[in-house]
Symmetry: C2
Subunit: 363 residues, 2 copies
């Protein structure tokens, strides 16, 4: 018998708001946690100073459980040849927008979890510390667990779920292919081509929530949270019928008052552009689900030219900035899951309470 | 308020056995229909004579509702240049297996629905006539409907579902990305690249059941049947919680006594090979979900070299035959959905009755 998610973290509602780097900060987390769900603070693109300020803000506004989220990728070395190829591919766009590329130097805009960040966390009391792209090294996982926080990470396959359980995860998110933003993939087949003729086959293998969730539930003993395609009360109830201990929703919160979703992103979310999303590596170097825009349509969603995560974003940033200044999301990462029907322009507390109806019914 | 599937076709159980060309005939359909589900006869690769015999057999064994399934693709012209390129790509394998390629002439192994087949159907009384890859021309749809049979087809997007409803479908299957075998895609974005640098992006866009199903249910007024990732009682119940009027299961029936699943396919289904499936166009020219084997690993699942559906299979058939004779499924189309946990080596009637528990509970 699995431990219940709500026993593990004293949560009122089995609803987790997905950490969404770049489109939200502490305000969204505070609203969701305040309403009884698990609000999340994404730290992947924040400086240590900003993480400190955001955590201070959360703890001064609520004493309910919250989640703080980090990436734990291995930062890549800069590969000049690959950077060059990527710039070449982008050259027609630079020309179109009059961008001088000499100004752009490659840099990693996202930092993985490390001991300095673990030091910083010691001054705070998150109920959950979550990771994307696997887990950090054992010493870091041990430090987090010693603090009393529960460790959460996402699995995109049963194999990844088993790995996470074996390496100390207390809660596992089964992230179905429907989910918006970055796939949590960390045990990828992508690099295992046995033949030069073979293109990457990872995207053709990604697993839907309906298939992934019950198989992960069956494979591990820790609580499993469903993510991907869940947008309302029925979705949460269906996930629980498939064995989930809770549901994680991201896209549904993107139009909430407390989100920092950009204007072009909000407009796209309110349009029929949500009907076409694709897994793309164009924005960061790793596959993530975005609404299809001109950039994805023209380069194709998965490109071999893209530098390793997270270096790809440096070269595209000026394009995005120029286009957005003209009111266009043609070059923006328009993160969105495959079911945007739950997006509401209301407060996140109200959205969380509306979603909770499912759970109250099913118990 | 939607008409109920079971009102529409007087079905005892809201369970459809997916038509699976090449791995089953009338025996499976008879067993499932006899147990109160909707058994299906796949006709895509049968001659008219064999379709006649199979339908005779069904009607002599059961008077319960059954489904007869056809493909309705446009047969392609033979493209010699493309055939040549495909042979070149396969040349190393032909060498390895000592196959003389002069013997192979391209031919279409699958015929679409036409007036001769509609004539043939007039002697029978199927409750449902279903199609894959859209619907045939209006005159043919009208003939089927005039016979009293209900018309069913599959949608992989909300757009396709709306198209099907507008063109006369009485029942729509929402086919999530999890489903095994051929994707029903017929309004594809694949051919709409606006830039030569863009590879096909269709596979990165395929939608999971959890996201597709409720959005299709919301968009159309006809009953919607869920397909993809459903393997057991909980899966059927969860699909119904998301608004489905019924569930279509294929993979779960592949090991049933009445299925004609080949030995290599059965062995793979009983192994951990089921954990890795991919959408691949290598076997037929159209994307279909198969377990990953040597062929997919080496050529990549989606290849630009592959001739149009269904021509691709001619050139691979001798490889498949040779490998299977040696007990290997390395070149076989190992159709399988993303959740093979429901496969049981039992009779299909018993499997259907076990699955039915969900429906009886939820009513």
């Amino acid at each position: 018998m699995k431990t219940k998610l709500q026993t593990l973290i004293e949560l009122e509602l089995p609803i987790i708001q997905s950490p969404m780097a770049g489109v939200q900060g502490s305000e969204l987390a505070i609203a969701v946690s305040g309403a009884g769900g698990l609000g999340s603070l994404p730290c992947a693109i924040l400086t240590a100073d900003n993480i400190y300020k955001e955590l201070k803000s959360i703890e001064s506004h609520t004493n309910k459980p919250y989640n703080v989220n980090f990436f734990c990728h291995k930062p890549p070395a800069i590969n000049e040849a690959r950077e060059m190829k990527w710039r070449e591919a982008l050259e027609p766009y630079y020309k179109e927008f009059g961008i001088i590329t000499d100004d752009i130097s490659p840099s990693a805009s996202r930092s993985p979890f490390n001991h300095e960040l673990a030091d910083l966390l010691e001054g705070f009391n998150p109920a959950v510390v979550s990771f994307h792209f696997g887990l950090p090294e054992k010493a870091l996982v041990d430090r987090v667990k010693a603090s009393g926080a529960k460790v959460l990470s996402s699995a995109t396959t049963v194999k990844e779920a088993l790995w996470l359980e074996a390496h100390g995860a207390d809660i596992i998110v089964a992230q179905g292919v429907e989910a918006g933003g970055h796939r949590g993939i960390f045990l990828s087949e992508d690099s295992e081509s046995t033949n030069e003729r073979a293109p990457k086959y990872g995207m053709a293998m990604q697993i839907g929530t309906f298939a992934l969730l019950p198989q992960v539930v069956n494979a591990v003993s820790v609580p499993v949270v469903a993510a991907g395609g869940i947008a309302d009360t029925d979705g949460i109830a269906a996930a629980m019928r498939l064995g989930a201990s809770g549901a994680q929703l991201g896209t549904s919160y993107l139009l909430c008052d407390e989100s920092k979703t950009s204007m072009v992103h909000r407009e796209a979310l309110k349009s029929n552009q949500t009907a076409e999303t694709a897994l793309t590596n164009l924005f960061s170097g790793r596959p993530a689900r975005s609404m299809v825009n001109r950039f994805i349509r023209e380069l194709g969603p998965m490109s071999d030219l893209v530098p390793d995560f997270p270096m790809a974003s440096t070269a595209t940033a000026p394009l995005r900035t120029k286009a957005e200044a003209m009111g266009s999301g043609d070059f923006s990462q328009l993160w969105c899951g495959q079911n945007a029907s739950g997006c509401k322009e209301i407060g996140a507390a109200e959205l969380t309470q509306r979603l909770a109806a499912a759970f109250q019914q099913s118990n």
